[in-house]
């Protein structure tokens, strides 16, 4: 049982309005249903009691002070593009949107950084940075995510192979603690051994520890040239086995994505987006960035020769913006395509050591067959974060529910056995909360709880996500 929270009363609403603006406070039926869920409604639909749009750190602080005093749960919401059922009001209370806190301050060229408010969209931040001649690499598929959302979930994306994940780019944060106090974690410095690195703990905490209100991000110089290769194979094994070999080359690929023809056919059929490569059944889409043409030519030749040696039918070279877009636009449409093709999906976001990718892919297919579930494996092969999609086909509600649960359990088990993790980039949220404790073990689970209590002893921030804390002891 969660801590017995108080319902939001009329007088609470009045107080919230007094510190914000009635035009930005919505109650009950005034709240649109899209705020009941994120991109995975399967992971829970919950109606907030009150929906508030904050426009400043001060407003966030005032709201938190009130909720802390009154024991009212608060769930912070960005663009709602999450895939773990994280930004939802599981125990009611207040949904605090930071989408109007969307300022993008000037790029700090000397420090190679940019400071933004959490509601700024990732695509807008990336554009501003690019116009200043710099580069912000984290690129999860969803470009319309709020930058705050990407920080609080430590969003990954396919370029992690070369550039790392969001956490690697967060220099410092301003945040509001559950009791309303405004604090800063680290500062605009490149290294820091001043105590525990709480900033890194907050990144990826899924809104359970504090409310991030300002973010300073590290920027790098952009690569001069980018090319994409499509390696086409007839069989899945040599295709997957090429991945570790590519990573051993002198040049690190920016991204290595794995796709199967079956999935491409879905995208073509449902979204009318054909893939520009007709031969082959299994594919690696490999992106390379380089600083000059010679470097790029060398790296393309090595990679292509390697693929052919490994049994590729051919390697296609995307050397113009249009060609690059013709491949990546199909890749970007996969989730949408699957949603259009099947009336129910489940997704397993495990990450395994790179050396175990092939083994996991093969096992995942077998596990799917056992439960009569169409399992499609795709995604970030370069970092071991293989997305395993479970698609419903002709199963009754009851069987689908039972089989997916069992199938997922086995897939997670397999990941653990291979030295992998439960989630590579989507997070735990509400969708994977049931498997979390079993996966990480009691001792580490307790450590998570203790950390949660250290920040939020009243358990009012995004309760019931990542971990469940049964009670709290004064």
């Amino acid at each position: 049982m969660p801590f017995p929270y108080n319902k939001v009363l009329d007088e609470d609403i009045k107080k919230i309005i007094s510190v914000t603006d009635e035009k930005r406070v919505f109650v009950g039926d005034e709240i649109r249903e899209e705020f009941y869920h994120d991109e995975m409604p399967e992971y829970g639909m919950y109606a907030p009691e009150v929906y508030v749009e904050a426009i400043s750190t001060k407003e966030v602080s005032e709201i938190m002070k009130l909720c802390y005093k009154r024991n009212i749960p608060v769930t912070v919401r960005g663009a709602g593009t999450g895939l773990a059922g994280g930004a939802t009001c599981k125990y009611g209370g207040i949904m605090l949107s930071i989408m109007q806190m969307n300022k993008i301050y000037e790029v700090d060229k000397e420090n190679m950084s940019i400071t933004v408010q959490p509601g700024a969209l990732l695509c807008d931040v990336a554009d501003v940075v690019s116009q200043a001649g710099l580069f912000y690499p984290p690129d999860p598929g969803e470009r319309t995510a709020s930058i705050g959302g990407t920080v609080i979930t430590n969003a990954g994306g396919m370029k992690a192979v070369r550039y790392g994940v969001t956490r690697d780019y967060v220099r410092c944060l301003e945040a509001v603690l559950p009791d309303g106090e405004i604090v800063r974690f680290s500062s605009n410095v490149v290294k820091n051994t001043t105590g525990f690195d709480i900033k890194d703990l907050v990144v990826g905490s899924e809104g359970t520890l504090c409310v991030v209100t300002e973010i300073t991000l590290k920027l790098i110089m952009p690569p001069k040239i980018s090319r994409t290769l499509v390696m086409a194979f007839d069989e899945i094994e040599p295709c997957i086995e090429t991945v570790p070999k590519l990573l051993q080359q002198a040049f690190i690929p920016t991204a290595i994505e794995f796709l199967e023809r079956e999935l491409l056919e879905i995208v073509e059929r449902c979204l009318n987006k054909p893939f520009p490569v007709v031969e082959g059944k299994s594919f690696l889409i490999v992106m390379y960035d380089a600083n000059n043409q010679e470097e790029m030519d060398f790296c393309i030749e090595r990679a292509c020769n390697l693929a052919i040696e490994m049994g590729a039918l051919d390697v296609k070279i995307c050397n113009t913006q249009e060609r690059i877009a013709s491949v990546w636009s199909v890749r970007a449409s996969i989730l949408e395509g699957m949603k259009a093709d099947s009336d129910a999906q489940e997704e397993c976001d495990v990450v395994v050591p790179r050396a175990k990718i092939a083994e996991f892919v093969k096992s995942a297919k077998k596990i799917g067959q056992k439960y009569s579930i169409r399992v499609i494996v795709c995604g970030h092969a370069g970092d071991g974060n293989i997305h395993t999609e479970l698609l419903r086909q002709n199963l009754s509600d009851e069987v689908w529910e039972k089989n997916t649960k069992e199938c997922l359990r086995e897939l997670y088990q397999k990941s653990k056995e291979l030295g992998g993790q439960l989630s590579g980039e989507h997070g735990i949220g509400n969708g994977r909360i049931e498997q979390f404790e079993e996966f990480i073990g009691q001792r580490i689970y307790k450590l998570h709880k203790d950390i949660k209590l250290a920040f939020d002893e009243k358990l009012i921030l995004n309760p019931g996500k990542v971990i469940e804390v049964e009670h709290y002891d004064k």
Binding site: K103, I104, L229, V230, P274, F275, P276, V277, V278, C304, I308, D314, V315, K316, I317, C318, N319, T320, Q321, E322, R323, S326, V327
Partner: protein, 263 residues
């Protein structure tokens, strides 16, 4: 079947400098690529070849650097490349360019089907294709959306207009320009790239043109004069409106910029 595809090398991105004196694009030193619309023409040609057999020849007019572009189309599966290059052709407008290309096509022999992209991304006139056909006195259909049927004698194509579609049939020789949605252009293949290593394009100069009337080529043969060419002024500014009376603040900005009048 002899299939000829007309292609052009264009700047690889939209940040192109303009020569203020001549009013032309500064092509030297800039990164270049094949005109994206031409990729649909190449794909159409290769699909016809796959169906009926034959030879696909890509032809272009431009500097010797076009050889790089030819390597690219060889790795898509194009059999032959022809580059029409001569200082005498420099400064050509649509009329002179299309005449030169028509002369080049005549010089290399018989063409059953000539295929062009809809337009280029730098010139944007969409006139070169049909003009070539006029110079060659052959039938032509522009902006084709679909090859409905094709055999050794004739081609049937569909054009989609706003409120109707038109299906037309032409006997060879004939020219079409194809729309960008007609197919999904294949990507260059590493295997074909290796196989075509050493394959060189054929260079044609003024001396190879059947018509040696200099007044029809280059700047002399170009009646069009570009008076001025300039990049649009990029002027995007972001302002934050804060505090009271935001509506009035926005209104004042719009009024100052003369976006609202008479109030």
């Amino acid at each position: 079947m002899n299939i000829v595809v007309c292609i052009k090398q264009v700047p690889a991105n939209d940040k192109v400098e303009i020569d203020k004196e001549s009013g032309t694009l500064k092509r030297m030193g800039a990164e270049s690529k094949i005109n994206p619309y031409d990729l649909f023409a190449i794909e159409t040609a290769l699909q016809i070849k796959e169906k009926l057999g034959g030879v696909v020849t890509a032809i272009t007019m431009g500097p010797s650097q076009c050889a790089e572009m030819m390597k690219d189309v060889f790795s898509m599966g194009v059999d032959k490349g022809v580059i029409i290059s001569d200082k005498k052709f420099a400064g050509a407008d649509v009329l002179a360019t299309s005449y030169t290309l028509s002369q080049g096509i005549s010089a290399i022999g018989k063409a059953d089907v000539i295929i062009c992209g809809k337009q280029t991304t730098d010139g944007d006139t969409a006139q070169v294709g049909p003009s070539i056909a006029e110079h060659l006195h052959i039938p032509h259909i522009a902006w084709v959306n679909e090859i409905v049927d094709i055999n050794e004698r004739e081609i049937v194509v569909r054009q989609n207009f706003e409120s109707f579609s038109q299906v037309s049939k032409m006997e060879y020789p004939a020219l079409i320009t194809v729309e960008k949605d007609i197919n999904v252009p294949r990507l260059p293949s590493y295997k074909l790239m290796k196989e075509s290593k050493g394959k060189e394009p054929i260079f044609l100069s003024f001396e190879d043109m059947p018509d040696k009337d200099l007044s029809r080529y280059g700047l002399v043969g170009s009646p069009t004069v570009v008076e001025k060419i300039f990049p649009p002024n990029p002027d995007i500014k972001q302002v934050y409106i804060e505090g009271e009376n935001k509506d009035k603040q926005i209104f004042d900005i719009l009024k100052e910029k003369k976006f609202v009048q008479g109030v």
